[in-house]
């Protein structure tokens, strides 16, 4: 494999009618490493994963997964990959155990081997107690874990996880991160898509930021955050008429101009040391008799990355192509 890349996607193009879901995207996933694909809803993440997993035919591009051509060697590619999509694709009526045995059998493992592997996975994903209950009784986090287990039944070399934590609560998300970390510890190549900078930061060795079908930035989490402040302080001013006043008052605390929203009385401050600055914020505003309705200290988000790269906030946009009447199922 060239340059030890397990995943190569060069100049991938995919159009749905007039919508350019992918407009010349290139990504390279190093073998045994985690590549994070970061972007808002509708950026083209899922489309790219579906193409890599042989589910969708690209309109153009050179795509190799595990050294195999996704167009000409579909079956071999499928023998080497695992996929867990955005929606836990597990059968609700079957039990957790039956789901995994079924997947194992469809990988053409002998029944006994599929059963042994299932027992192992149920244990690994802390599902042993619920193993013989129908999946419809599972919580969201349990379903995701089962889905993840299903994707690695055949011990794939390359794993695609499409937004594995979307829709999970904070606790389940952190538990999921732990699970994913153990998966890649033994050298599996992982491509992970996410909308959360924190998640990419937590899990990925390298991050590619995409938006509207284009790669807009790439690098390690540290490289991406290098041009960005370490912390952000969100301030809500009780009287929105004082927003501009507050903003100019706080200017000395930050190297960039504070972002202000006069309508809502919001000021966002990018600072190097949040804990120190927050005391300053309170002192300065209090000194000028400006009342604070709400004050939040937070880590940079995907939105902040977007602001620093493109100068624009994320536009939440439904990128799914329009349904074409009664018939005509299209993909996003």
């Amino acid at each position: 494999m060239e340059n030890n890349h397990a995943i190569i996607a060069e100049n991938v193009v995919k159009h749905f009618g007039d919508v350019k879901a992918l407009d010349g995207v290139s990504i390279y996933g190093e073998a045994g490493k985690v590549l994070g694909l970061l972007g808002p809803n509708g950026a083209g993440k899922t489309t790219l994963v579906r193409i890599l997993a042989t589910l969708l035919k690209p309109d153009g591009g050179n795509i190799r997964v595990g050294g195999l051509d996704v167009l000409r060697q579909k079956r071999q590619v499928r023998e080497n990959i695992g996929l867990a999509g955005q929606y836990a694709a597990v059968d609700e009526i079957l039990t957790g155990r039956e789901n995994l045995v079924m997947v194992g059998q469809l990988y053409h493992m002998p029944r006994r081997a599929a059963q042994e592997r299932t027992t192992e996975l149920l244990d690994q994903f802390a599902l042993t107690d619920a193993a013989d209950r129908p999946v419809k009784t599972y919580s969201g986090g349990m379903r995701r874990r089962l889905d993840l287990a299903a994707s690695i039944v055949a011990r794939p070399n390359i794993l695609f996880l499409d937004e594995p934590t979307t829709g999970l609560d904070a606790r389940a998300r952190i538990a999921m991160w732990g699970t994913i970390r153990t998966l890649v510890a033994d050298g599996t190549t992982l491509l992970l898509t996410t909308q959360y900078l924190e998640e990419a930061d937590e899990l990925a060795d390298k991050i590619v930021v995409i938006d509207h079908g284009h790669v807009i930035a790439e690098g390690t989490a540290d490289e991406l955050k290098a041009n960005m402040a370490a912390d952000f302080i969100d301030i809500s001013i009780a009287n929105p008429l004082q927003t501009v006043q507050a903003s100019s008052l706080l200017q000395p605390l930050t190297s960039e101009a504070p972002q202000t929203d006069e309508q809502r009385g919001h000021v966002i401050l990018a600072v190097e040391n949040g804990a120190q600055s927050i005391a300053e914020v309170v002192r300065l505003l209090d000194g000028d008799d400006i009342h604070i309705a709400e004050l939040n200290l937070r880590r940079p988000t995907l939105n902040d990355v977007f602001l620093s790269i493109t100068g624009e906030a994320i536009v939440e946009e439904e990128a799914k192509p329009k349904r074409r009447g009664f018939f005509g199922r299209r993909s996003a």
């Binding site: 579906r50 997993a53 042989t54 589910l55 969708l56 035919k57 079956r75 071999q76 499928r78 023998e79 990959i81 695992g82 996929l83 999509g85 955005q86 929606y87 836990a88 694709a89 059968d91 009526i93 079957l94 039956e98 079924m102 997947v103 059998q105 469809l106 990988y107 053409h108 493992m109 129908p134 299903a150 055949a154 349904r323 009664f326 018939f327 005509g328 199922r329 299209r330 993909s331 996003a332």
Partner: protein, 264 residues
């Protein structure tokens, strides 16, 4: 798992994969006993209602005992309605991402469809067995066991052909709600404008021409004759031609649509 599987191995896998998927679909059915009970009660109820409500009035135009006319017809109706389950079931699998999972596995393409259509046909066959028993209880008798069983097999083959139409529709419609309607709306004209419940001779000409020549009537007539002891080779040949024709058109169509369908 295996790097380069031979053609023969892949051929075998088509069957084992189909079996695995079929078992999944059937266990879904048997774990929802309510579904199974109501799916069985409904056609039996139809059988009883038609026999006792319409039977007396229709008797004279069906040449005597209505149950002899009705039971073979209603068996056809029951078995072809099994294709509704195929439409809805496949569409649910699509919208819930199951099809994506299956398609990302190195399994046979046809197996997801065949596993579904065979399971729905088995389900239909279970239902018509219960209807046969109900029919026997209210007076139906085979004239000849051999030809009677042949008639039932012909009905099941026809039902299986229809599940492939159902599969094609299920892969085309956009969501499960649409699949609910699309799954059986097309079957009403085919079952009512046919010789399933009544002889076609009293229908207006334009309708009669359609009713007498459409596949449901053709197969229903052949099945009815077989079940009442008449073997008419020409009739059976035309019925088989329809069954084969439906397979030839809809199997490739469904497999082709499956290959390119993208859920969500």
């Amino acid at each position: 798992m295996t790097g380069q599987a031979g053609a023969f191995q892949r051929f075998i896998w088509t069957f084992t994969d189909t079996y695995v998927v079929m078992r999944r679909n059937l266990s879904q059915l048997f774990r929802q006993p309510q579904l199974l009970i109501f799916a069985t009660i409904q056609p039996v109820m139809f059988l009883l209602l038609f026999t006792y409500v319409f039977g007396g009035a229709i008797r004279f135009s069906t040449g005597g005992d209505y149950i002899k006319f009705l039971l073979p017809g209603i068996i056809i109706q029951t078995i072809i309605f099994a294709s509704t389950n195929t439409t809805i079931g496949l569409n649910l699998d699509l919208s819930r991402g199951m099809i994506d999972r299956f398609r990302s596995l190195p399994m046979s393409r046809a197996a997801v469809l065949a596993g579904r259509t065979v399971a729905d046909t088995v389900r239909g066959a279970v239902t018509i067995t219960i209807m046969m028993i109900a029919g026997m209880v209210i007076g139906f008798r085979f004239e000849d066991l051999g030809s009677g069983l042949a008639g039932i097999l012909l009905a099941i083959a026809f039902g299986h052909a229809f599940t492939w139409i159902g599969a094609t529709i299920g892969l085309y419609v956009k969501d499960p709600e649409a699949a609910q309607v699309a799954g059986f709306i097309w079957m009403f004209p085919l079952t009512f404008a046919s010789s399933i419940f009544v002889p076609t001779m009293t229908m207006p000409d334009w309708l009669r021409v359609f009713a007498e020549n459409q596949p449901v009537s053709v197969v229903a007539n052949a099945v009815r004759d077989l079940m009442t002891g008449t073997v008419n080779p020409e009739e059976i040949a035309v019925a088989l031609a329809w069954i084969i024709g439906i397979f030839v058109v809809f199997m490739p169509l469904a497999v082709w649509q499956y290959a390119k369908v993208a859920s969500r």
